[in-house]
Symmetry: C2
Subunit: 197 residues, 2 copies
DNA sequence: TTTAACATGTAAGAAGTTACATGATTTG
DNA sequence: CAAATCATGTAACTTCTTACATGTTAAA
């Protein structure tokens, strides 16, 4: 009954309480790396969660100009989160624009296809470098190796991002290679800029 | 102006014409691996594409019971597809349920988390084996190595699926390992396993 | 004094899901 | 005779995006 966004918000609140504004920021980064949402979606969803008794709010005098609502997860909210994690994952209702484009790439002349792939490759390598920098910080902290600490999940999610982006870079290199291009100027993990200098 | 689904349909029709029903089947497999859509979405979208002059239909006597519409891509449709492929990719409006769950996994007791990860690992390995079997077929065909043939794109898209699933399996193994679990039983086709023994 | 950060909402529309609705031909 | 395949649509609803709307406090 609870939407995916609802679960994301419950997960956020299980870590610590926060205002709608605060949750919006936390949805941008780090959650936005794997589940994006705008404030215009978040405020109504919080109201729905509260209607269902999964969260609760208290009005506090915060930094803002008007009465600010500080949301907390309830016991029922924790149960809902737990039930969701124990429910089977519906195998992937995938929507991957990148693969769709590759699947259409035969219609382009090879030099254009090559230019496209090189540009994408750079974007993936850049994001990979970002994840790796974050991971270095997280791995150094206490709690990153304790499975019941939030930081363990940060660490694990980041690792997924890293392995995923490495796979993207390797895939693009594979395609570039088969289109007869020369190797791109950078290596996986480097912070990447186009050679245009 | 054209939606992502519209582009998927144009891409499908650039390969060969087809009825709405036929396009629905082709959207299930192979396109459904990276862009899912139902017939209830496809029929109205075809009408919109036709309104925009990107596709055209002729009524034909087919196998079905009623007048069947056979859609063809127009020159304008090919230009739209081309323009889309040349336009920048808006970096990822990601929505990845799997990572969201991992990011919440710290709330579960470790044995439950382990059970969850092992189940998911198996699903990824199964899908990987499926892709690898398809890839073996595709790679053997003429055209798979010719960049302007549709089969080149089939081959490339499948390679992305394979590398992506291998990354998923490796990620899950990484997490299972860090939760102190033993390695799951491996099967032929997994192709990702750490050296056995 | 202007901009950024804090703070919360609504509205219109696009995109996607699930269910409803119909009906002929072929295969088991 | 039943089920699968072929074949095309609509309706209701959820989810998500983009834009509109308002207003304070602190820093540059």
């Amino acid at each position: 009954m609870t939407s995916m966004l609802g679960h994301a918000l419950l997960s956020l609140l299980a870590r610590r309480p926060g205002t709608g504004y605060d949750l919006t920021q936390r949805m941008r980064r780090p959650v936005g790396y794997f589940w994006a949402a705008n404030h215009s979606q978040i405020y109504p969803e919080l109201a729905r969660l509260e209607e269902g008794g999964l969260v609760r709010h208290r009005v506090v005098e915060g930094a803002g100009p008007r009465p600010t609502k500080r949301y907390t997860i309830t016991a029922a909210g924790r149960r809902a989160l737990d039930g969701w994690l124990r429910s089977p994952v519906s195998d992937p209702p995938t929507r991957d624009e990148e693969t769709l484009r590759v699947w259409s790439l035969w219609t382009l002349d090879p030099p254009s296809a090559l230019a496209y792939l090189r540009a994408r490759r750079t974007q993936h390598a850049t994001r990979l470098a970002e994840y790796e920098a974050l991971q270095a910080e997280v791995a150094a902290e206490r709690g990153a190796h304790e499975p019941t600490q939030p930081l363990w999940s940060d660490h694990a999610a980041l690792q997924g991002g890293i392995l995923g982006r490495r796979a993207e870079v390797a895939w693009h290199d594979w395609m570039i290679d088969r289109l007869g291009g020369t190797a791109p100027p950078t290596r996986a993990g480097d912070s990447v800029d186009p050679p245009t200098g």
